[in-house]
């Protein structure tokens, strides 16, 4: 029993050590040559543009359902016109960043782990090294940059369509005046809220992509290993999104409010 706990702890510490080393290597790769510009452009396109549809849909329906649910509750206090306030505050501060990040964990985290995992088991990563290419610079750096920078952009898009979804429901179902809704949207926000909604996705994007890369590059054991890596990447990235979100929110509250 003790031996197995010991083994488990050793494996966990090793995993953390390797993750930190990968992040450090990626950090070095971002500031020193060579850079692989084509791979960067490709990743910005795949991670950013490629995730647009799923983020648009998630944002739209989340905003709509928020308006629908809160409309009923607010009615009990005769506060239906304030529905915009609720939608904007929830979307911008919390739901926009977290749901976008969770969608990215499913779409991007799994994709990266599967791709790098397959390259690992087919010895393509070794082939890259044999050909003189550092896989961290070629594969990890472009993905981390794209993930970290595109996650906030996608979050803004999600926030916007979410508020738009709320507007559709507020005006069509709840019969709130359009002008009243938009005024309420703005009134619901403190100046710190958009900042919080904008700062968090940088960390969430970084967590998702770096975990995907780490899990992918540690894939062992053929096609079965790739399957395992993909699942692990999604699970670890999703949990990390919620955990990082909590800690960053806590930190930002202390610093800004």
């Amino acid at each position: 029993m003790l031996a197995s706990i010991n083994e488990w702890l050793k494996a966990a510490v090793l995993e953390v050590q390797e993750y930190v080393r990968l992040c450090a290597a990626a950090g070095r790769g971002m500031v020193t040559r060579p850079f692989y510009y084509r791979d960067m452009v490709e990743q910005f396109d795949q991670i950013g543009v490629g995730s647009l549809t799923v983020v648009l849909l998630t944002g739209l329906f989340t905003g709509a359902v928020l308006a629908l649910q809160s409309g009923l509750t607010l009615d009990q206090f005769g506060a239906r016109p304030f529905v915009g306030r609720l939608v904007s505050a929830s979307m911008i501060k919390e739901l926009g960043p977290v749901l976008t990040a969770l969608m990215l964990a499913g779409r991007v985290g799994s994709g990266i782990a599967a791709e790098l995992g397959s390259m690992m088991v087919a010895e393509q990563i070794s082939a890259l090294r044999a050909l003189g290419t550092d896989p961290v610079r070629k594969l990890v750096v472009p993905r981390i940059l794209a993930g970290t920078l595109m996650c906030p952009v996608l979050t803004v898009v999600s926030d916007f369509v979410g508020i738009l979804g709320g507007w559709v429901i507020a005006t069509s179902q709840l019969r709130v005046e359009s002008g009243v809704y938009w005024t309420s949207v703005l009134e619901g926000l403190f100046w710190q809220d958009p900042w919080m909604g904008l700062i968090k996705p940088f960390f969430l994007g970084f967590a998702i992509v770096s975990i995907g890369c780490h899990v992918g590059l540690r894939t062992r054991g053929g096609t079965q290993g790739v399957g395992r890596a993909t699942t692990n990447a999604v699970v670890a990235a999703s949990v990390a999104v919620l955990a990082v979100d909590f800690f960053i929110t806590r930190l930002l509250f202390t610093l800004m409010y």
Binding site: A122, E123, Q124, S126, A127, A130, L131, G132
Partner: protein
């Protein structure tokens, strides 16, 4: 390298009979599983080493140690006059410019065409201009007789063609040493022979030193006992003479130890029961 030798490293390496790869009592173990136990051998410039052994005998490990993909626990590994067993990844990149490796199953990049695979290093690492890369890629694909497949994806090629593209990719930057990891495993005998012929051609016509890891005896003996020569503008594969075939040395690994080292004839004549079982 001997300290008293007045020649520069380059002069030593350029001379005939120079040691290109040297293993000196190299050991490696993963946890309590011993992979290599004090393995020593020397690859002479322009010669071939054929490493034989059962699965899991540590054959492929030797190649990974030469490339610096793995690090030995003990002993010294010299490649082109540089000690690679303690080298950092950054310096290893320099050593690897003179090494080409053909991986098991080829390890071609699936998302790139044959042209992009073969020209990868020239284009991405050596930053050659496009027209120069294209010229070299076309030349090298002509050499392995795959010119018409230049714009195909690796998935559209047969197993033998993929291995030949992998050989072309490994030799694109004209390395002095080529490492082959099970180049013919899983191929039918006829296709395997086409791959063997490429290995022989590269050794005899391009002067590449090679290490071939395999458990396919037929191919191992083919490589050792044949040579390539140019005739009438083409290339002919012929039976090698005695001296030439002795330039190909066999190493048999068993449980991490070298249990035989010598040319093809000696291996055939060996009375060692393990070798006889392996050869039968």
């Amino acid at each position: 390298m001997p300290a008293e030798d007045p020649r520069t490293r380059q002069e030593i390496l350029d001379a005939t009979g120079a040691p290109i790869v040297m293993f000196d009592k190299v050991s490696l173990a993963f946890d309590d599983k011993v992979i290599l136990r004090e393995v020593s051998f020397t690859l002479i410039k322009g010669h071939t080493k054929i490493i034989l052994g059962a699965s899991g005998a540590g054959k492929s490990t030797v190649l990974k140690l030469i490339l610096g993909l793995w690090k030995a626990d003990g002993g010294v590994v010299w490649v082109n006059g540089e000690r690679v067993d303690q080298m950092g990844e950054h310096d290893l990149m320099r050593v690897r410019t003179d090494l080409g490796m053909v991986f098991q199953e080829g390890a071609l990049f699936d998302s790139l065409t044959v042209r992009e695979n073969v020209g990868y290093k020239l284009w991405e690492e050596l930053r050659w201009p496009d027209d120069k890369v294209n010229a070299r890629v076309e030349e090298i694909l002509g050499f392995v007789a795959l010119s018409e497949h230049i714009d195909k994806m690796p998935s559209d090629l047969s197993g033998g063609q993929r291995r030949r593209v992998a050989i072309a990719r490994a030799m694109a930057a004209k390395p002095r040493v080529l490492l082959y990891d099970e180049p013919t495993t899983g191929l039918d005998p006829i296709t395997a022979t086409t791959v063997d012929e490429e290995i022989v051609k590269l050794r005899d016509l391009e002067g590449v030193s090679s290490i071939v890891v395999t458990h396919q005896l037929r191919d191992a003996f083919y490589i050792a006992t044949h040579s390539a020569e140019r005739s009438n503008g083409g290339v002919r594969i012929v039976q090698a003479d005695q001296e030439k075939s002795e330039e190909a040395e066999f190493i048999m690994l068993r449980d991490g130890l070298v249990c035989f080292e010598g040319p093809a004839g000696e291996l055939r004549r060996s009375t060692d029961p393990y070798l006889k079982t392996f050869l039968s």
